[in-house]
Symmetry: C2
Amino acid sequence: MKKIAIIGAGMIGRAWAIVFAKKFKQVVLYDTDHKAIENSILQLSITTQELYKLGLLNDEPNIFIKKISVTNNLKKAIENVDYIQECGPENLEIKKDIFSKLDSIVDKSVAIGSSTSGIKASIFSEGLNHPERFLVVHPVNPPSLVPLVEIVPSEFTDKKIVEFVSGLMNKIEQKPIVVKKEIDGFILNRLQGALLNEAFKLVSMGYVDSYDLDKTVKYGLGLRWSFMGPMETIDLNAPGGISDYAKRYGPIYQNVASELEVKEWNESFYHKVEFEQRQIRSLDDNISRQKWRDKRLMALAKHKKESDKLFGE
Amino acid sequence: MKKIAIIGAGMIGRAWAIVFAKKFKQVVLYDTDHKAIENSILQLSITTQELYKLGLLNDEPNIFIKKISVTNNLKKAIENVDYIQECGPENLEIKKDIFSKLDSIVDKSVAIGSSTSGIKASIFSEGLNHPERFLVVHPVNPPSLVPLVEIVPSEFTDKKIVEFVSGLMNKIEQKPIVVKKEIDGFILNRLQGALLNEAFKLVSMGYVDSYDLDKTVKYGLGLRWSFMGPMETIDLNAPGGISDYAKRYGPIYQNVASELEVKEWNESFYHKVEFEQRQIRSLDDNISRQKWRDKRLMALAKHKKESDKLFGE
């Protein structure tokens, strides 16, 4: 395997390009938009230098970046390609257009993964000639720093394609999971959604303000979860493991869930959080805070790499 | 302020002792059980040495440990004390006994906090002479590595006592939050419970196995949450902040929550997770895995401290 094509040179596409270029000699980033192409060259150069400084890139940036080319020529992009990662806009019609085109010009043996966070493969691949090679390959942004990838096949996806993409993700040192049946929100956003629903409820009903709610996670709940999952966490928190934990605390959690009346995500539900967040930062300040977040993510990635070596995963 | 008394020399009591001894010259750990007392002296020595090695303790262990004394003499323990942290068994009758005794012999101006994770202050302080000085001060285990503290006053608790305990927690470099109205599970366990309910549902219904579920958090969701709360996370994930995010993704999350039928935490709900966890580790192996977890937590605490300095909190 030699060549990867990425469709869409936006934020996600560029991040995928860096991830693939760590293990592949030829990564082609395709976009129709001239500005996106120009911007991507600049952004790739900035990001690779930052990653290199932190020891998260083996090659020197100048050498590394030569493995990534950018083009607006689709035929050139997909020529002799081994895998295609689609990163177009989150819009069903646009995705269907792209996939229909790819399906007709790319050899049918080539797997095509979509970065979509919300559209099921059974929906975007419906009516295509080769739905068996299409599936969702959903990264977390940015995949260069957050390695989880959700692989979500449709019922039509060939099992060999799922295995191939899992192997590919492992090869580029991402952490793939396989979702066994299609479900709205896949796994990550369902877990996030469950916590967010409870969080908004607690703030909107006046049990806690949103600053203290955030502290609860970043100084409490989120620490273990950055290196252990929630299941391993509770397994280690009772002498008899999961079932012991479930017997001890299950009644409380069940009770909490039963009380969890589903609220509509309307203005009254999020107004208080929005108001409180704007007391700390203006929307303009969010830009620099995003840069701060990415630096912290880089430092955390480096720390996790070192801790994995030192103590094991 | 000079002296802190801790009632109960178990795991939580010992961890509190270390946290308080970072800023107080005199920390007295009280227990009625001889074995607990002996064991605590050994364990404190081990833990302080580990923390020192990682740069998480300013004094040398031999000097540091002199600030903590252990006794089975309650009168001696509470003499001239400035604050009392209760860490007895999680049993209402036992706690009521302890608090009734403390209430009658400790000067009424002294605040008394309970480490309980589940019993409300309005319940355990009912009928006492001075319910206004009692409140929940719930740590995460171990507080020396996970700094969040949930302060949960009852409706009887004096506001000055809440302020005093918040200030005290800040002084010893813990991260306190104040829960404004009593609620089952407080905040942390409600958030954890919401995520666990969804997680068990997804595994028991066959959408994902428990290994992949854990990966979703430890390689994905948990990374940002180890240094940002969930509210800041979504505020930075849409150009227009929280309300923009809520408009974009609210319908999906609301849908996810509506589908979330509450399941009973019975065997069929947790059997699959338990079975799968036991394929990776026997219950005996959980002991060494707990040690691994604590080392990772220490390394993470050190990393966070460094990143706070380098990039800001």
